[in-house]
Amino acid sequence: MIASLMLGPVPVAVGSPASAAPSETAHGLVSYVGTPVQDESGRFVLPRDPVGAAEAGRPVHKSFTDPLRSAQVNPPRTPPLVPSGPDVENCLNNPAARSSVGMVYNRFMWCQRWQVEAVRGTLSPQPGGTRLAAMTMTFSAVGYGRDDGVRGATIFFRGDSLSLWPTPKGYIRADSKLYQRIKCVGEEGCDTADHYIMQPLSGWMSRWTSWTVSSDKTESSAPDLVLRHRWSFEGYLVDSFNVRLAGSESDQHTIRCDSATIFGLRRRGACIFDDVIPHLQYSVRDQRVDKVAEHIRCAQEAPFCQTYPIESYAKVIPGKFIEGNRHLGALHRVRSAKTNSPIADANRAVVRRECARLPVEVYDPTAGQQCDEYPFASTMEGAACCQEPAFDWDFSIKGVTGTVNECAGRALQRYYNDDRILYQQDGFYVRITDNPPAGDTCEALPENPEDDLGEPPFDGSPTVGAGPDVSGAEGIPVLLRGSASDAEIGTPHVTWAAFPASGVDAGAYCAFGDANATVTTVTCTDDGIWQLRIAAWDGTNPVVTDTATLTLTNVVPEIQPGHPGPFVSVAADDPPLPPEGPGILSPTPWQVFRAGTQMTFDAAFTEVAENDTHTCSTAWDDGSTSHYPATAADLTCRTTHTFRQPGMYTIRTTVTDDDGGQSATADVLVIVYDPDAGFATGGGHLATPAGKGQFQFNPKYGPHDEGPVPGQGKVTFRDDNLDLDSTALEWLVVTPDNLIAVKGFATVNEITGYGFVAYGYDARPDRFRLVIWPLSSGPFPHSAITYDNRSGTGYDLDVADPQEIQGGAIHIHH
């Protein structure tokens, strides 16, 4: 009945959304391989059968279509500043890209359209835990290899859509911070210099962010200084309450890096995507190579297709492309240059000799034919193959139109460059297709030929500046005014990075509003001195850098402005929601407890610096103070307390960070009653502005009253202007030191809708105070006051400072 009259903040019952989270162990997980699931203990783990996962061990073949328009052979490939062009679209729009392993489009491009997910939950109270919040970000990723002399690759990431549950007030929000980097394992020498890049979830959306992977050739002792590295995305999330949700990594992807010197002066360093079966394609529908294609198709079908020279045994000819096969029957390129090419020279010698013996209906040089051989003379498996213990493969020769043979030969050269086929160690295959030709089979002509033979431009290095040294505060964005320019492209690609210099706690990070913009902001998770570095690259010249110093001061945590107000309604299927803002959540103002019962204290605070840890200090107003660590899971001061004596208590709390910064004080007044503590009677008069005020009260808990409502008694007050009669009592506090307070509902001048608190001191002289307010302004006195004979003093009984009475008496009965 009483509760129906309460307005505004209401006490939060145990088990309601606002208090469900506090006592649980918060945890979470980020996943690139499917939605995390909760095990029996409620702990989040990666799904057992990740969607689209690669085979166990090193994947030998990932989703791959046949890009007839392969990567252009010239000039050397350098990753672009941002992904663009039809190849990117073709790759990302291919269904094969929609998997956890992505798609190797060609040896110089990989792409993926997938999703990263994050969840937060608790391990209890129910078996299997509770799922509190979740995030799903679909993303596009594009990787570029290169053969411009640099052993490296560049990986781009762009968020495409973001889904949060629950929205918008869950633990994971758009401002939650997603940390991502490229992790590199495998053979030594792999480095991902960019480390983690942190941006709010919203910051990852709709723009490309990139990392570079480099390979140190000095770590290799293999031919061509080959190294194979496996890279993956690795990420974790710090939710909007500074709780770090554990990280994980994506499926791994392989790059092979080499320093081969056989591709020209400018290509003596390269990295390519190696999770694909390299193969050369000829189409029987391409008139430029059709006869060669038909010849190879026949040869690969031997002995079921007649080939020359005719042998008395069943010929076996290698090199046929079979989906999924990477090792059996591969061709291996050998040196086929002007000197020092014994295998290729031997292959050609055999071919010339055998071709001279072919019947004219098979090879007719007088008709413009050339003698085509398969496997190619430039492979280990060519016509002279092979000496024991290697398998003695067979070969096929046949006359084909000279121009067709020449075109096919140039296509083979092009292929060796396109797929960067190394001598001996790269097994490759030949795939004969029936597809119509796309592009120029013989040559690798760049797109958009320019007819104007103007002077080629000089491409100078970009310039870059980090701007002046800057200062600010931890956790708060600081404006950076960097600059970068390039004569050829205007604004070069820039990347900011931050490094702790001094006074920074371990584990702290900085994040940039846009790490790829010259003018941007930086936000760091701890105070101290940081070094900022901006790097600029024009895609051609070496990277140039500049640095500046960032000095950050500590920011104290915020626990005011008191109670955040009523909680939003929670739908039945919503998870428990986090605190909406700083302040004391429990107890609520003027909440009533029986003496000797345990009370839960719960105060939320905010902290801009993610790296800070906190200690709470709560003074209970009963002579005791509690010092305890804050609950990091949701930035709260959380503890319990039991008041032994009846009274009104003003609880005061502060929170201090590990850098010594202390918040302002948040406080809340609570009521502690005891039905066995006694009762009070009073009657008399005192001076009022209207002349004389007459009061009378006799609240009392009956023998079997449990409270907090006293079973007996009334309160009245009258002067010339005001006539108060209590209609119901809410509680009665009688303290051991002879102070009383009673709160209830009343009519004023016979009008209902008022609340009152009456204070009495049984002292010498006795004292009385009456506070009246309209219930329309709230369940306890706050701003709109109808009457208060000691206006301006506090409402806590200890400090209420009642007015001396002029006649009558107040008696406390224990």
Partner: protein
């Protein structure tokens, strides 16, 4: 009077009837016209493709020269072709796709427009000897390739 500023002498593997000279600093835009046997020098930005009538891979002798102006006439050659091309860096690699790490190279000058003149000799002898499978096809076909700055 033009001056010879650099030259390189060597060999080149003519593979499947052609070999390339390229400036790999920029896009290479030469393209063979397989329908025209009378043309044997094809140029485009940063590339020169020279085709040979031989049906067999062979090793030709080659000299590449860089001049600061139009070079004087050369004698003793069977045929010649002239063309213009643009070079992004001026560094010419000689048949790197085939001759790999043994490919020669020459700096013909800075980036810019160049004239190129290609002389050839020995083709008749090459065609005559290639029908004998025991005959080594090395050093029979010979080339002189001259670059100098300018526009045709």
């Amino acid at each position: 009077m033009a001056n010879l500023i650099a030259a390189v002498d060597g060999e080149v593997m003519v593979d499947h009837g052609s070999f390339d000279l390229i400036d790999d600093a920029g896009p290479q835009r030469a393209r063979i016209d397989y329908g025209s046997r009378s043309e044997w020098v094809f140029t485009g930005d940063n590339s020169v493709i020279i085709s040979s009538p031989s049906a067999w891979n062979h090793v030709s002798v080659l000299r590449v020269e860089a001049w600061d102006g139009s070079p004087p006439p050369a004698s003793g050659w069977d045929d010649q072709r002239d063309a213009t091309l643009r070079l992004t860096s001026g560094t010419i690699e000689i048949n790197p796709a085939v001759d790999a790490d043994t490919a020669d190279w020459i700096q013909v000058g800075p980036a810019g427009l160049y004239r190129v003149r290609v002389f050839v000799a020995g083709r008749e002898e090459l065609l005559a000897r290639e029908s004998n499978p025991e005959d080594e096809l090395r050093g029979i076909e010979r080339y002189l390739i001259q670059f100098w700055p300018g526009q045709g």
